[in-house]
Every structure is written in structure tokens, then in C-alpha cells.
Subunit: 429 residues, 2 copies
């Protein structure tokens, strides 16, 4: 019996998971490597950061998702490098140390992380939102700001405790800003005795001309109006500086103890691992079959790749990653069978949507445009359908109904994980 | 208008919250101080540690619970001391620094934390379970043990990676041990390719003669049998030593990378704050009205207090704390009205129960005893009923049904909160 070819997939996000699933019945051995044990439904991460959902409602263990796929193993490890010539991936985890995992085909689906455009010093004061840990830390910061304001002996309205600044007017910034607005106006309104949460200032900073610039101007306009009606201030301008007391936007100082970074993404270190050229943001150029030049066994997909279609680079969204993951799997299966490769990858754009507060979304698919409650219902339906596990669909649906009807959120906790990890015990509570 | 008397309550657990609620319509100003922003339903904490429930399902913000109670304010702060003569509580939080909060009546409901009986060096290797952060950290450790075992190049069955030791045969130890047994046999069984999770060794260490020693011998016996049928080893003996490679129990070494402390509780520093005598575990002696000797305006309730009834000290359970909280509130209301005090506190024991794995519990109320599935159904119903917020009742009920039917758990995530708190970004996901 000849050995089955080994397909190593790095990253269990939308792209890597789609590739692994598409190979479930193929005559290959699949190894999925991720540094975390769960697939994260990133489009809903802002709902964890704003206390609507629990982390467990938007993340499923990769092992659990793939448990019935007998040809697939999952390894929890950090990839540290790639030997293209020797066809090996280097990875490390606690016990194993550095190990080399051989491959016949390699699919790199490592996604992107947030980029501070060279201003790494912003990171400390303006965290970004990419992982469950990020979301929980931002949730802590938002909720703590109200607690600190409530506890102030001598309140100073200009100290920025109740000012939240979101840097970046894309979907994440818009969704966060509007979710914070709903949080203060609906959930927190009646819960404090010294401060009035509805006086909270929410500033959304967009360096370009308009929010949601990847949408049509008419939908950007609808989102803009909706944000304003929720009390969100929209500022355009460049961020010059961020420190613990606030942000400087186009020369103006905005006092704020809570600045959140929702701008810029940078691809992960795939380019460095492969020692190939990348664009400024770190994306690796791939051919029509999503392969790296000179290595027809190495695929880069999703946010880590740069792929032009009709003269435009494809956006870093889940649908691109999913379709590319399936396409790479198809190419691998054909290659093993000795069949000619599939036609070059073409992204089928199903559309684009973003939520702006309670019961309001904008949605665009081809020439079709929709905004308001019908768009929000479509958004909710589609997002629930795409959650990886059936149990989560029920759970998220019920949570949304509950929050919609009562204003109560699912997980409004401040948890200090540091004190526990460092072994101090907590007595009172 | 004369100033309303101020009642300061320290601790938002079962006792403190019951006192605050009982004072909702009283002519007083209530200040509830807690170091965390949520009331925690501790009896279900082990279900977070074993991945069944999300933290948000067993914890509700104190503000949210008390939002309609207009005479009550909530302060998130750490109590640092008490000035009995000047009737002030000292507390600190991030912004406020140390402040003094005056009181006319003081209710101390600060609970207990785990005690290592003088072996504080065990804490690093054998974490205890008292807070959400503890539960999430223990969840990480349990899940990581399987990941590390799966990743081993050269597996050594004696390295203790797949051995879990629970020190303490009370309800927490029994519930944790059986929950881990169900986790490995039902949820994880099919998900690994190199290790067999069902070979996991689970050791429950009980220093006394029998598990669940607060129950009748026949129920201890039923729990013992059930634990054995789930594959849990029960050891009696003293813990001599714990380090990163295992535990020494009665002279035997048990190799284990995951030791969890479910024994001993010690009261919080109330005795020190008040400068009064305590017993060895730190409990403060109170009179029939739950007051501290010489200070009829200071009450100590729940796990922080020591109260004898019919020659036995009351156990540290939620029902005692709740009934004492209500009793203290009643005494305060009568005192303000100039009425004679209520009769001395008497605990009405509604009963005692503990879960042993899936669909099995033991339950005892007076002379009534029950074990097996009917007891588990009673346990589930009663626990759901006592969750503080209606939204959580639905959510926990559905989660339990789902887990019961499918074996899938609600929140099986390994999350490294440290890397996020320290500002490192996570690229791959």
C-alpha cells in the first residue's frame, strides 16, 4: 500500500477549515496546525467585545468540528518556519519543542493581524480585535471605564473616562461604535447612580472620506446617518498620536481612556517563512491556482494572499478565504489523480454587509442594496447559518432575541485573568 | 428631611446579594461593594472548569441584578480595612485610591477562599476553584493536557500528562472528577488520533474516610460506586507534597501534570479587619443576630461567619448565606424602626445535593434521600431556578439539554489571556 500524500494546512480560520473539510473524503492525510484550539467566527468578535455574546458562542474546537473526518489530525502548535526545499513545516508547542512536519502539499491560511502602520507604540493604548483574548480584554476595558467613572470622588468630565475612540471606519469600527452606543443607551442607562452612561462620547475616526468605504456611497451615507442618530461622532483625519490619556486626530486632542484600534490589517509572516516577495502589508502573491511562484505544492489563501481579479485585489473577507480554501483542495485532489488542474480561481462575490446598532444593517449584493431592519434580519440569518456548529446556532439566535427584546446582554463580565494565572487567590466575591 | 441610614454590604455573593435585595424597599441607603462586577453562581463553577458552560452563563453583573433598586448603589472596589469606632470601610479602586465609606450598619459577606492548610507552595501546582478566572485557567490546563499528550513525539504513559488529581472529596471534588470522566469518555473520545482520551486516569483524593462526608453514609456509598463506574480512582490519604510532576498521597507518588485543589476553605480577612478573634479557618464568631461582639451595627454572614446551631457549626453553603443575609436585613430594618429585634437566626436546612456525572446526583433533605436520574433532574431544576437572571435560566437549561443529548460542550476553548494583556498580537488563528 502506498503512503497517502500528506497535506499540511496552517491555520484553522475560514480558509484553512474550508480546505480541510473539502479534503475530508480525498485520498490524503490532512494535518491541520493552529496555535489555538478553536475556529473563531471573527465577524461576530465585536459582539464579545461589547458583551452581547460569550466567547464560547463564536468559537468551536477545531477537533470537534473535524472529529468525524478520519483522515485528518489537528495539532495545536505555533509554526515557526518552513523548509520549502525539504518540504517541512517547523512548529513548536509546549512539550514537543521544535518539530518538523513533512508535507507533500502545503496550504498556508494564516490570516492577518492588525497593523499599526509602523506605530507599534500605539498597541499598548489602542488594542486591536483579532482573538478571543483581545475581545475579552477590550470588554474589560470598556466596562471598567464606567466603573472607574462611577467611583470617582471628584468627577472631571474632561478626563476621557467616558470617551471611547475607535480608529478605523470599516465594518469593525462601525459595528463596535454602534454596539457601544446601544450598550450605553439601552443596557447601562439605568444601572449607575453617579454617572449618566448616556452622556458617553463615542468617536469613530476614519482616515478616508467616508465610513464603510467598501460599500456603495448610498449605503455609506445610510450608515453615517444611523451612526449619528445613535450619537456617534464621526471624525475624519489622521491619527498622529495615542497615549494613555487620549488620541490626537488631525491636530485635535480627544481625551480618552479607551482607544480601540479597528484599522489596518497586515498579513502574517508567511512571506518571511517562504522567503518570497510580499506587498507592503505582507501579502504573498499567488498564481491563478493560488500557488507560490516556483512551488506548485505550496498554496497561500485568504488574508495572507494577494490575488487580483478584474484589476482589483480581493478583499480580506471570510468568503474569499472559504472559496480559495475549496479551490486549493480541488487543485490538490486533481494533482494527486494526475488530472489537469481546475480553471484559475475566480471569486464569486455574494455580497457585503455590516451592522449599525440594534436592528439596523446595510447589505449589498451586486446591484442589490438594502438597509435598515430587513437588512439586519438578513444579516442575522446569514451569520447564524454560517456558525460552524449547530448548537451555537440555537444559542446565538436565542441570545440575540433576548438582547433585542430586553436589552440584557449575555456576558457583561470584568474578569482579571492575570491575577489568577499568577497564582494569587481571590477571597472576596 | 433626615438622612437615611447607610447600610454598607461588602461582598456580592449569595449572602450579600440576599441582604441587599431584602433592603430594597427599606428606608435606607444601600452601598454594595465587591471587587468583581458580577455575582457568581459558584455551585456551577465546576461546569465552566470542565467546558460545559460559558462564564457568562453563571455570572450576572451586580448592577444589572440591582438596577431597579433605587436605594442601592454598587461600587467596584477592594476593601482594605475597617474603622469600627469611626464606622468607616476603607476601599480602593484604580482611580479613587483609598477612600473611606461611612456606614450606620455594616454587613460583611466576604465569603471564603481555598486554603492549603499552611502549604501555600501547593498553590502554584494545584489551583483552586473560586472565581471565573480560576475556572477558565483550570479549563485551559485540562484541555492543554490532552493537546500536549497528542503532540508528544515519544509518548511516555508515566509522565502524568493524562492523569488528573483532585484533592478533596467534597462536592466540588466529586463534581469535578465525574465531569472530567464524562468529558473524556463522551466528548473527547473520538477527537484525537494519537492518544486515547478514555485511558485518562482520574484520581480523587479524600483525606477522610469517605467522599461527600456531609451526606448520609448510604448516599456517600452511592456516589462512591458511581464514581468507580465512571472510572474514577478514589484514594484516601494525606497529601504530603505537590509539584509540577505530581502529588505524593500517603507516601505514594502519583505522576500528574494537572492537580486541582478542591479541599479546604478559609474565611476572608474579616477577622483581621475587625481585629476580633477567629477560629483557625478565619471565621468570625457572631451572636444570635449575626452581630460581632460589642458592635451591634456590624454583621458577619455566610462563609465568613461561624455560627453554631444545635451544637454544630453551620456548613459553608449558599442557603446558609442567603438566609443569614435576609435575617441581617430584617434586624437592621427593625433596629431603624426602633422595634425589638427578630428572634435569633435559625437555619432551615432545605437539603443538600451533588452531581456525579451525567444524569446522576445524590440528594438529601431531612430524612428524604434520593440518588440517580430523578435526583439529577431535581438538582437541575433547582439550580436553574436559582440563577439570578431569567435569561440565564433559559440559556443554561438549553445548554444542559444539548450537552445531555449530543455530548457537545458549550465552551471548550483554550485562551491565552496573558499574551493579550501584555500587548502581544496574535497573527495566526
Amino acid at each position: 500500500m502506498s503512503r497517502r500524500p500528506s497535506v499540511v494546512i496552517v491555520g484553522g480560520g475560514f480558509g484553512g477549515l474550508a480546505a480541510a473539510r473539502a479534503l475530508g473524503n480525498a485520498p490524503v492525510h490532512v494535518v491541520l496546525i493552529d496555535r489555538s484550539n478553536h475556529h473563531l467566527f471573527q465577524p461576530l468578535l465585536y459582539q464579545v467585545a461589547t458583551s452581547v455574546l460569550n466567547p464560547g458562542q463564536i468559537a468551536s474546537p477545531l477537533r470537534s468540528i473535524l472529529r468525524r473526518q478520519q483522515n485528518t489530525e489537528v495539532i495545536l502548535a505555533d509554526v515557526t518556519g518552513i523548509d520549502k526545499e525539504g518540504r517541512r513545516v517547523f512548529a513548536s508547542n509546549v512539550d514537543r519543542g521544535d518539530v518538523a512536519i513533512p508535507y507533500d502539499y502545503l496550504v498556508l491560511a494564516t490570516g492577518a493581524h492588525h497593523s499599526y502602520f509602523g506605530h507599534e507604540e500605539f498597541a499598548r493604548f489602542a488594542p486591536g480585535l483579532k482573538t478571543i483574548a483581545d475581545a475579552v480584554m477590550i470588554r474589560n476595558r470598556i466596562l471598567q471605564a464606567f466603573e472607574r467613572a462611577e467611583a470617582e470622588e471628584d468627577p472631571n468630565p474632561n478626563d476621557g473616562l467616558l470617551t471611547f475612540v475607535l480608529v478605523g471606519g470599516g465594518p469593525t469600527g462601525v459595528e463596535m461604535a454602534s454596539a457601544i452606543a446601544v450598550l450605553v443607551r439601552q443596557t447601562l442607562r439605568t444601572e449607575y447612580r453617579r454617572i449618566d452612561p448616556t452622556t458617553t462620547r463615542i468617536v469613530l475616526v476614519d482616515s478616508g472620506g467616508r465610513v464603510l468605504s467598501s460599500f456603495s456611497p448610498s449605503l455609506s451615507e445610510a450608515a453615517h446617518k444611523r451612526l449619528e442618530s445613535l450619537g456617534v461622532e464621526i471624525r475624519s483625519g489622521h491619527v498622529d498620536r495615542i497615549d494613555e490619556d487620549g488620541a490626537w486626530i488631525g491636530g485635535d486632542r480627544i481625551p480618552s481612556k479607551t482607544v480601540i484600534w479597528t484599522a489596518g490589517v497586515a498579513a502574517s509572516p508567511v512571506g518571511k517563512w517562504l522567503a518570497v516577495e510580499t506587498d507592503k502589508a505582507g501579502h504573498v502573491q499567488v498564481d491563478g491556482l493560488l500557488r507560490v511562484a516556483g512551488h506548485s505544492e505550496v498554496f497561500v489563501i485568504g488574508d495572507a494572499a494577494s490575488y487580483e481579479q478584474d484589476g482589483r485585489m480581493l478583499p480580506g473577507v471570510a468568503q474569499v478565504a472559504i472559496q480559495q480554501g475549496r479551490h486549493a483542495a480541488k487543485t490538490i485532489v486533481k494533482s494527486i489523480a494526475g488530472a489537469p488542474p481546475p480553471p484559475p480561481f475566480r471569486y464569486f462575490d455574494k455580497g457585503n454587509m455590516a451592522v449599525v446598532g440594534k436592528g439596523f444593517a446595510v447589505l449589498e449584493s451586486g446591484k442589490f442594496k438594502l438597509s435598515g431592519l430587513p437588512a439586519w434580519m438578513a444579516w442575522a440569518g446569514i451569520h447564524i447559518q454560517f456558525l460552524a456548529q449547530p448548537g451555537l446556532r440555537v444559542s446565538v439566535f436565542l441570545q440575540w432575541m433576548w438582547t433585542f427584546l430586553t436589552g440584557q446582554r449575555g456576558s457583561r463580565l470584568i474578569v482579571n485573568y492575570l491575577s489568577s494565572e499568577t497564582g494569587k487567590s481571590a477571597g472576596q466575591s
